[in-house]
Amino acid sequence: MLALLLLACAGPPALPGRPLPPGWVDAMEADPAAFDAAVGAHRDGWAALHRGDLWAATAAEGPPAARAAAELARVARALRPGLARVASTQKSDEARFFEALGAAGWGERPAAVALPAGHPLAAAAGALGSGGLEALGQLAGPIGACVAAHLAVRSGGALGDLAGACPDPLWVGAGGGHRDPLVLSTLAARPVPALPPEAALPFSAAWSAADVDAPLAGPSLRALGWTGDPDVDFPALDAALAARPAEAGPGAALVAELRLLSVWRAQVVAAAWEAAPRGQGARVLAWGVDAQDGRGPGPARPPLLLAAEAAEALAVGQPRAALDALFPLAEAVPVLAPVREAVADAAATESIGRDGLSFAP
């Protein structure tokens, strides 16, 4: 009984954990100058990347812009299946054309969409069928201009150019409005410059330079006995983080202020979510909750985690729940607004003919 009493007073027992080998956070803790060296001349871009502002980081130059572009590509790939599920629920002629256009954006051979002669989208469907995106980008009109803008971005143009070229909705017809279906594939297709390991490391899932290529399979997490089971791995990781000596160096205040351990952990959660087998992603995300950043992007709530939350909600047919993540995500990355709006349309569809409930607290 006494033992139980002590247990209750002390809280849960500490798990015995394996130690983490030295990593980039240790280097900054030991020497704050290492941080200055890492961020170099692109401090604003790194700061944007740290706070999850991928839009600002993308507009910056140098390594932070490249890192942001790479993360946006991961965001796009995370959202792709859910958005495809949303798009596939629409059955009109226009919807079939936009679904085919979306598929073409991902490099897939689109299904032929034959629209009746005189249909306002017939020429666009014909161009897409015969010459793909390139032919469609030559066409006059808003769809042609939008596709041309996407092609320019895919060739290295500024991402912000899409906002002016692609109105939202891109098309309004008898079957309702249709959003730009190329956004995600364009984000995924943008060229991302290769980076040296030291530029790939800060605020990433890699704990050391040796982990950059495969953070989950690298030596650092292997040292913890990483298994791929989140309910085993994250307690072990947390035990290792808890066992790190406090105030270990002159950079300790910097590490605390920038919440670097939380930043790294969040990136590991995101990477683990990407690697999780189908249907297991929600189990990983349960370990990624960091209430300190609220619901918006932040150091420990990177855009990729928001995309993962939205993807999980869409995977189980909950577009309204996905909007909780997509709303702050599209605020931070405005080019994702068409994705948010397409999902909002799906949530609205779900509410047609339904009664709502309300309660006082």
Partner: protein, 497 residues
């Protein structure tokens, strides 16, 4: 933690029910009269509808086995699942369904459930397991509306159900849990239903009344609870740091407001309402109580209905001065007054509304700095219900929680049943009607976004914020999924390892 409590908690931690906390245990266990989230959560545990939603939010049968909708969509025939029983062992029959509709619609019952059955013009038992429904208008997917809880005919003497019915203390349902007893400390003990064809994994469940919400987190931490429905913002960091606790963010669609009694002569003048709004620094009110989002209208910002082009109110002292002067007020040494009567208002709030005291004390200081007096009044449950229903207030600080459809009709339609402010606007009525009848999702979005703009312009209330919500579970509770609105909708799947 009170030391004397520890042995009890430890005993409970070793073996016992799955425990969750409410700061107020429901006084009434009867879905006919549910008004609070705590009551709604208990309803989910004890009762079921003809249909429910699975984890993909698809409508699936519960007490029903199927439905055949008439070709003209004006009626349907519902077949009940074979062998379903009430917790007392009596069979579920078509008479139970027709009774529930009749009781909810009976004018003497004055049921809060009435709105959910208003689409049913007639419910008739064809035989013991078949119900014939006729609707007030064509409905394409009536199963989605047949999710309201079904009550046992044999639990009541007739469809005019009084508020003091004996059923309240001896409820009989068909839900995953059966009420065992009300405990002396206000808690409610439940056991797994023995007649549920898909029984819950948890054998026992207990609602613990813990009025001090700060103490609820401690109880979770020290194994006195398995789950907190909502974590106080100030406890988030504490719980997040614990490896034996897992946080689950969830969607609440709940928002706070400061409502004006529109029958109060001062507040019939829109300039006075706006003056109060621009005297407030809402960001400063929100910051101490948690993270969340400001609102410009009656939807949360992530809603498909939210009109993002409506600006948020910002503090604007010069506009305040102009508005009040136009409304006939003059600034005297003690503050604004008209005809020698100071602009002094009184705000009513429920004493259990989380962080309300913190908010109102600060609001009082903000308004006073701009020459507007504010008196605070915190009342208990009974007084709150009575005063709000009677319109006996000047200002209200409260919140509304909505399901994922975010249907604001009851609050903002002139014929809405939950419109204590007395808001009425013909254009908003038209937009809400159009949204209800829309079959095109974008038409529905446009109507509700337009309603947002119009309501924001009319300013029956100052829309404040939606708070980030997290539930917390002990980490040995597995297979947890929290329904976007119904906390216990999928409780059958929860297990404790």
């Amino acid at each position: 933690m009170p030391p004397l409590l520890l042995p009890g908690l430890l005993a409970a931690a070793i073996a016992g029910p799955f425990r969750y906390a409410e700061d107020r245990a429901p006084l009434v266990v009867n879905p006919l009269f549910t008004t609070t989230m705590a009551e709604a959560r208990l309803d989910e545990l004890l009762f079921e509808g003809l249909f429910s939603e699975d984890r993909e939010l698809r409508v699936v049968p519960r007490l029903a086995s199927g439905i055949t909708v008439d070709p003209d969509l004006r009626g349907a025939t519902v077949r009940l699942a074979a062998g379903r029983q009430w917790h007392d062992g009596r069979p579920v029959t078509a008479e139970d369904v027709t009774f529930t509709v009749a009781a909810a619609q009976h004018p003497e019952t004055r049921a809060t459930l009435a709105g959910r059955v208003a689409f049913i013009a007639e419910a008739r038992a064809v035989d013991r397991t078949t119900v014939r429904l006729r609707f007030t208008a064509p409905i394409a997917d009536p199963a989605a509306r047949l999710t309201f809880p079904i009550l046992p005919r044999h639990g009541f003497s007739g469809p005019a159900v009084p508020r003091d019915s004996a059923f309240h203390r001896h409820p009989v349902g068909t839900g995953p849990f059966e009420l065992r007893r009300f405990e002396d400390d206000g808690s409610i003990s439940m056991v797994r239903s023995t007649v549920d064809p898909t029984p819950a994994a948890l054998p026992e469940l207990a609602l613990r009344e813990v009025s001090d919400r700060a103490y609820q987190a401690r109880l979770l931490l020290y194994e006195g609870l398995e789950c907190l429905v909502r974590v106080l913002p100030r406890d988030l960091a504490l719980l997040q740091a614990q490896r034996n606790v897992v946080l689950y963010p969830y969607q609440t669609n709940a928002w706070w407001y400061l409502g004006f009694n529109l029958k109060d002569p001062r507040f019939t003048d829109a300039r006075v309402r706006e003056a109060v709004a621009v005297a407030m620094d809402v960001d400063a009110l929100l910051a101490p109580i948690g993270t969340g989002r400001r609102l410009s209208g009656p939807f949360v910002p992530a809603s498909p209905w939210y009109a993002h082009d409506v600006p948020l109110d910002r503090p604007d002292p010069s506009r305040l001065t102009r508005l009040l002067e136009e409304a006939g007020y003059t600034r005297a040494s003690g503050g604004w007054e008209r005809g020698g009567v100071p602009l002094q208002v009184r705000v009513l709030t429920h004493r259990n509304l989380e962080a309300a005291q913190e908010v109102l004390v600060q609001l009082q200081a903000q308004l006073r700095a701009h020459g507007i007096g504010l008196e605070l009044e915190f009342v208990d449950e009974a007084a709150w219900r009575g005063r709000v229903a009677a319109g006996s207030f000047e200002l209200l600080l409260s919140q509304w929680s909505f399901d994922r459809h975010e249907d604001i009709r009851e609050q903002f339609h002139s014929r809405g049943s939950r419109n204590p402010l007395g808001y009425a606007d013909a254009e908003v009525d038209r937009l809400l009607d159009a949204a209800r009848d829309a079959t095109d999702p974008q038409a529905r979005r446009q109507a509700l976004q337009a309603a947002h703009r119009k309501i924001a312009q009319g300013r029956p209330m100052v829309f404040l914020w939606t708070l980030d919500s997290y539930a917390a579970f002990r980490s040995n509770v597995k297979n947890v999924a929290v329904h976007p609105f119904g906390f216990f909708t999928w409780v059958r799947d929860w297990v404790v390892q």
